[in-house]
């Protein structure tokens, strides 16, 4: 396939990316979130954008994000997602975990060099 150079998104990291995006952009619709993640990753991530929607639903079921209907820039009805207090707490927690784990992995990788 033509995507060999792109990293497949790790299961579980998508949730973190979505939470971070909503934290940065404020309330946003699914399309907006997808665009933002691709932009920020510099198109290095192969995000199958469809996988975003089950993820959004899962986060909502866990109470980390909330959704309501709104109007997009071009005046179309769209569902806007926003971070809840629990979601903000979760983001902080996951960010810490991520930093710790990635730091650890980096150290191991350097050590075996």
């Amino acid at each position: 396939m033509g995507h060999d150079d792109k990293a497949d998104i790790l299961r579980g990291t998508l949730d973190l990316l979505v939470l971070k995006t909503l934290d940065t952009l404020g309330p946003q619709h699914g399309y907006g979130i997808a665009q933002r993640i691709q932009q920020v990753s510099g198109d290095m991530l192969s995000l199958n954008q469809g996988t975003l929607y089950p993820a959004l639903l899962r986060l909502e079921q866990r109470g980390w994000i909330a959704s309501r209907l709104g109007t997009s820039d071009n005046n179309r009805r769209a569902r806007f997602y926003s971070l809840t207090t629990a979601g903000r707490r979760q983001l902080r927690q996951e960010t810490e975990d991520w930093v710790r784990v990635s730091g650890l992995i980096n150290r191991i990788l350097r050590a075996t060099d």
Binding site: Y31, N48, Q49, G50, Y53, P54, R58, Q61, G63, R76
Partner: protein, 884 residues
């Protein structure tokens, strides 16, 4: 957690959110399109690129839906919905199967409610599992449940370390003469340790203090909730005083309604001080002992320690304790006795009935699955896996079971008043027999288990048939047909077991009812009167009371005879004593006989036949020569002589050369004291006025608490009660009577358990028989339908219709015959294990078993008759032309 809750709640709901998703995805794709168009794609290429970027709209939706609900749950719901439609489509089969299951589940649930109340519900005491009842075990006599002596009890109490607390109970009948009509009440005099043993607090007031267990301070009483509400209207008890046997007691507390210690009939508790004399008394077996095993100690460990203590007592006090051990019995066993065995047997029987119903439904579903083979083949062709199809079919059968169970629970609930009406007055429970949450959960479990049980086989068979369907429907049909014969065999076997069980029990009951109990029960009324020691402390006063009373009772028109005894037949009470007929006084090793303290007229009132000599008269007074009556068994055992008139016997009164001898003046017939099912014990009768000649304080007490027996020729024996009561009042106005019963009802009560067991088994057996015959009929009919073509060919080639009919008959009878054979073997084996219930019938009585087997064989033949006839009357031409 929250996620799964929300997902479960979304199962089966197609809502706004689903439509919103369509909008959301359309918006996403449109935006992507615009982005691609801006990059120069034409409209068509942009849409293709956009959809690829999203990863497919359909796939996204599916993934979203899987996240929204739970796919397994969603599928289950689908199965349930579909299953309900199937059950509705095949209403006839559904109704037949559900009704059959309903019958079996109703029986199971009703019986479970009884079992739960008797065997499973915890006793109304704190940590009741630690309570044990202690008896003395008289090794010489193989009597494991003898009352305890005060001396032994106190030794146990001071020596046992595995026991946290123990209390001894002295059960008395006394007269409550304050606040209204004189009333005979059941009083339990309890020793120190009562509170710690039972661990129950009064609803009002307090338990006894330690000081109240000291002699002289014991005039305090705790009353039962029932007595409190009926006699005192539930009023405050402060300062209330009651009069028991002419002595005042201050009421200090009221126990809760659930407190039934040691029996449900207990009305008053008073302290029983233990005296120095009690400490030395190791021969008067009068107490009922209850102990609480220490926390963390097993009953088995406590039992071991108590056996060691009994061994030590045998060494320390050889004169009194040489032949005695201790019996430790969990409190529940002591309370319910042999009821538990019968209930366990009935639960087993009802389980068999349930199995027959399940096998039958399985047979129905099996053939039903074949008629649906086309539908299942379509489902398989559309990609349903075999597991999926099995699951679908299993869901259907569990649904079917649930339907049957719901119906069955309703039936059981409706039959509840009947159950309550059938329950005899003294059937012991401490929880109402009710279809409650526990019974409902039990039925639910039973329903699911049944559904899986009867569903698995047909489901697997049907799913296999469905694969085979493409190749050959007939081959699959033949496999199913074999399975169905196997099921029929199971049904018939279980039905044989139940019917044989009912037949054996019925025969045993018939046998027992026909046994002459040794008394003439018709027209005999009994009642108890206990004379208080305060006014009847002197023996002479007791004698005068009974003489005057019976003179007046005999004067009542309609009275044939009247007398009194201390232990009535069929009451479960008895007293035993060693005797000697040669020179010496009896020792612990001497043979023993049961004794009855009677007044003149008792033998006549009970209709006990006189075989030789005479019965007692008013001349057998305290000052007259000592006399006894013996029954035939004792005459045989003691003297080997059916008529040992003039022989002498002693019970240990006096000593050395001055042993007090009594002369045998008469021989009476044997009485089956423990009910018609148990053999008559060796018995002797003593005149109440002469028992001073026999040592023992207990005898004095028994003599003041005799049971009056009045024989009448009135049509309604109970009509005699009012004049008897009046006669009693005229002798002593403060003297109540209680426990008025007819001897017939007591005799009936002793047979109640066998009667109930027989009825239940008869009902279960009949139902199982009906189910099994339905199964035989169903299998034969199905067999004929399957083989129509083959049978038609045979007929067309000239086979006689009779030959075709017998072919069908033989085919159908294979399963039934195998079932009968296996069933008879099982019944014979099982009968041995319930031989306790089968009095007078040889376990596995061959004649009964053969009769049952033959009966079932004939019934099964009749059940195949119609299908066989149908086979013989097939029209070969039209059958072959219309066959598929």
């Amino acid at each position: 957690m929250r996620e799964w809750l929300m997902r479960a709640m979304s199962v089966g709901r197609r809502g706004r959110r689903d439509r919103d998703l369509d909008d959301e995805l359309r918006f996403h794709v449109d935006e992507l399109c615009r982005a691609f168009e801006r990059r120069g794609y034409d409209a068509h290429a942009a849409r293709i690129a956009a959809e690829r970027e999203l990863g497919g709209v359909g796939r996204t939706k599916q993934a979203w839906r899987d996240q929204r609900t739970s796919p397994p749950l969603e599928e289950l719901l689908q199965d349930v919905r579909y299953g309900m439609r199937v059950l509705w489509r095949y209403r006839g089969m559904t109704a037949a199967a559900a009704l059959m299951l309903a019958g079996a589940v109703a029986a199971t649930t009703a019986l479970f409610s009884v079992v739960d109340a008797v065997l499973l519900a915890p006793l109304p005491y704190a940590r009741a599992g630690q309570l044990v009842v202690l008896f003395e075990n008289y090794l010489t006599l193989h009597a494991p449940d003898v009352s305890v002596t005060p001396g032994s009890f106190l030794e146990w109490q001071s020596r046992a370390h595995t026991i946290a607390a123990m209390t001894a109970i002295d059960q008395r009948q006394q007269n409550l003469t304050s606040d209204g009509e004189p009333l005979q009440v059941n009083v339990a005099a309890v020793t120190r340790g009562f509170a710690a043993t039972v661990g129950v607090q009064p609803v009002t007031g307090r338990l006894f203090t330690d000081r109240e267990f000291e002699a002289g301070n014991e005039r305090v009483a705790i009353i039962s909730h029932a007595l409190w509400t009926t006699r005192y209207g539930g009023a405050a008890i402060d300062g209330t005083s009651i009069v028991l046997d002419d002595r005042p007691y201050a009421v200090v507390g009221v126990m809760p309604a659930s407190f039934l210690f040691p029996t449900p009939r207990q009305q008053i508790w008073v302290p029983r001080p233990m005296t120095a004399a009690d400490r030395e008394n190791r021969t008067g077996h009068t107490l009922y002992a209850v102990a609480r095993v220490r926390d963390g100690v097993s009953i088995a460990a406590a039992e071991r320690e108590l056996h060691d203590i009994a061994a030590a007592l045998r060494r320390d006090y050889p004169d009194s304790n040489r032949e005695w051990d201790i019996t430790v019995m969990p409190a529940r066993d002591a309370l319910i006795g042999q009821t538990s065995d019968v209930l366990a047997a009935m639960m087993g029987a009802v389980a068999l009935l349930l199995l027959v119903a399940c096998a039958n439904v399985a047979g129905l579903l099996l053939t039903h699955g074949l008629t649906r083979s086309r539908e299942l083949a379509v489902r398989a062709a559309l990609g349903a896996t075999r597991l999926r199809i099995v699951r679908q079919l299993l869901t259907e059968s569990v649904l079917l079971a649930a339907l049957g169970a719901a119906l069955g629970v309703f039936l059981a609930w409706a039959a509840q008043p009947l159950l309550e009406a059938l329950r005899p007055a003294d059937f012991l429970t401490w929880k109402p027999i009710a279809i409650d949450a526990r019974a409902l959960s039990f039925s639910a479990i039973v329903a699911v288990a049944c559904g899986v049980l009867f569903g698995t086989l047909p489901a697997v068979a049907a799913s296999r048939a469905n694969i085979a369907a493409a190749a050959s429907t007939r081959a699959a049909g033949r496999g199913a047909s074999r399975l169905r014969h196997a099921l029929v065999a199971v049904e018939v076997a279980l039905a044989v077991v139940l019917v044989a069980g009912a037949a054996l029990l019925g025969q045993a009951l018939h046998h027992v009812v026909a046994i002459d109990p040794g008394v003439r029960a018709d027209g005999v009324v009994t009642m108890t009167a206990s004379l208080p020691a305060t006014r009847y402390g002197e023996d002479a006063r007791v004698d005068v009371f009974y003489r005057t009373l019976f003179d007046r009772i005999r004067a009542i028109p309609g009275v044939r005879a009247a007398g009194a005894v201390q232990a009535l037949p069929f009451s479960g009470n008895t007293s035993v004593r060693p005797y000697a007929t040669d020179r010496s006084a009896p020792t612990l090793e001497s043979p023993v006989a049961h004794y009855r303290i009677v007044t003149p007229g008792y033998v006549e009132a009970m209709g006990i036949p006189l075989r030789a000599g005479r019965t007692f008269t008013d001349r057998d007074t305290a000052n007259a020569p000592l006399v006894v009556l013996v029954n035939e068994r004792l005459a045989r055992e003691a003297w080997g002589d059916p008529s040992p008139i003039g022989a002498r016997i002693t019970f240990g009164g006096g000593s050395g050369a001055n042993v007090k001898w009594a002369e045998v003046v008469g021989v009476v017939g044997d009485v089956r004291h423990f009910g018609p099912a148990a053999p008559a014990p060796a018995e002797m009768y003593w005149p109440a006025e002469q028992i001073d000649a026999v040592p023992g304080e207990t005898l004095r007490r028994m003599r003041r608490g005799l049971t009056l027996v009045v024989s009448t020729d009135a049509a309604d024996p109970l009509a005699i009660v009012a004049p008897v009561r009046a006669a009693l009042r005229s002798v002593d106005p403060a003297q109540p009577v209680a426990n008025v019963r007819t001897l017939t009802s007591m005799l009936g009560a002793s047979l109640w358990l066998s009667r109930a067991a027989t009825w239940l088994l008869t009902i279960f057996g009949t139902a199982a028989l009906a189910f099994a015959l339905l199964g035989v009929f169903g299998a034969a009919s199905y067999g004929v339908a399957q083989r129509r073509r083959e049978l038609a060919v045979r007929l067309a080639l000239g086979a006689a219709p009779r030959a075709v009919a017998s072919l069908v008959l033989r085919g159908a009878m294979v399963g039934a015959a195998a079932g009968v054979g296996v069933g008879v073997l099982m019944a014979a084996a099982l009968a041995r294990s319930v031989s306790g219930l089968l009095v007078g019938v040889a376990p596995g009585d061959p004649r009964t078993l053969v009769a049952v087997a033959a009966g079932l064989g004939v019934a099964a033949t009749l059940a195949t008759w119609a299908p066989a006839r149908r086979a013989a009357r097939l029209d070969p031409m039209s059958t072959l032309r219309n066959a598929d």
